[in-house]
């Protein structure tokens, strides 16, 4: 018989409150709409609450929740083509550099792009990214390497 550790209610609530902004913003990179991303995160945490007894505890709780959040966001994408217009670069920060990076990121396959956000924005380790994306830890390194290579090439292309 498999013994599940389970996740405590207060653990999930603590994670939700401390990382809400990061969950929703990365989810928005998948859904294409901040409102839908928020909805996906709310639904994902509701799912995590219902299924908390099935959390095995052989990896971080956050990685387990990330997987649920990303699945909820992908479900949302499957049902819609966002009806929004042409974009323009952000008007804050470093507009030109950000615009180049934005274009290069947008050209990445979804798994590579999400791995980049999980590593460099959500600060997850390779094992946690693997759990969140449903891939082996060794594959995470390869995925990030591929993303770096594609970004380098994409940025050169954008700049020339």
């Amino acid at each position: 018989m498999i013994g599940y550790r389970g996740a405590r209610l207060d653990e999930l609530e603590g994670l939700y409150r401390s990382r809400f902004d990061i969950f929703t913003r990365v989810a928005a990179s998948v859904t294409g709409d901040p409102e839908r991303a928020r909805d996906a995160v709310q639904e994902a945490f509701a799912t995590a609450l219902r299924k908390r007894r099935s959390f095995r505890g052989d990896g971080p709780l956050e990685a387990w929740v990330w997987r649920i959040v990303l699945n909820a966001a992908r479900m949302d994408v499957r049902r819609s083509i966002p009806a929004i217009g042409d974009d323009e670069p952000a008007a804050n920060g470093h507009p030109e550099r950000d615009a180049e990076l934005r274009v290069a990121l947008a050209r990445l396959p979804e798994r590579q792009r999400t791995a980049v956000f999980l590593r460099y924005y959500a600060d997850l380790g390779y094992a946690a990214i693997g759990e969140a994306l449903g891939i082996r830890t060794g594959t995470v390194g390869a995925t990030l390497n591929a993303a770096h290579a594609a970004l380098r090439s994409g940025l050169e292309e954008v700049r020339t």
């Binding site: 709310q42 966002p82 952000a90």
Partner: protein, 359 residues
Amino acid sequence: MTDLDRGSLDRILPFTPGAPDWNDVLRRARQDQVRRRRRFVAFAAATLVAVVGTASAVGTVRHFVLSRGFIGLPPLGATPSTPDSGKLVVSAWSVHAGSRTRLWVYGDGRLIWQREFVHRRADLPESANGRSSGFLEQRLTPQGVELLRSEIISTGLFADDLELRFEGPAACLNFIGVRDGDRLVRVTWFGFGCPRAKGAQTATPGQASALQRLVARLADPTAWLPAGAWKDRKIRAYVPSRYAINYGAQPQSLEPSRILALLPTPARELLRAKDRTRTRGFYGFAGGPMRVVYGYSSEVTTEEARALAAALDDAGVKRGQGTYALAYSGKAPGPKGNTFSITFEPILPHGGSTCSACG
């Protein structure tokens, strides 16, 4: 060097609206358990409606009016909304208090609307399900139509088409259109952090406040329109007589002939015989440029739509969950993951349709 510092990613990722709401999470977790228990009961009720509808359609001619919304095709025998066509006076697409409302008002008094519950479960008894109300209809008097129209015009924002971007949280796409003589004037606005229309100017606090007030008014006209504005305030389902069949492939668009070739023969022949228009949409991720995708749209009668759905079902084409619209999908030629989809959308009295699952 790939510029992957947290600050760059922070600026690229879209900002998301609102603060954390743990109580909403708890409520959703509880409601889902209740919903699972009710699913069987709902299925039985839906079957009963279909049986009653069929019985009404046989023999005597009776009006069969649906008192709650539905997704996809109406029960057999449901009476279509009349008249068949109407002159559009107001249209809106906006988010207020956790729900997205799409609304159309016609010169003949029809107020047709659809509500998508984005941040909360439906609290509307007439709603088709917990996420979408389906298309609903109420009737205004001529005075009611004019009151609604003048409420919009009186903001002074609707002299000409206008595109604005909000500096605060807002959904990525919002608009209100209103008839001014022969013209339909439309104000569109985009949320902060969303891909924005080129040329959109920053909304002043006064413009933002006026639009937010209008959005709240349009989300619930029964709350402020006087009794004399209503011919029939009772909410009923809007039953169309025609459907738009929208089909395409994403993320790589395909020619219509290549999509139709993927369908069972009866469905292929039905759509091939129809005129079609090319549509343009956007697909992608909010931080980057949206990819333009092309689709196709053909108009069919409700009976033809039923035949098409039956052909797709018989052939085992994957049917969507039906939360927002009746839709089918399957693998399409092209890059890995390329998918074709066919969506059924009611045609509204002005001859247009919407995208029920778009945001």
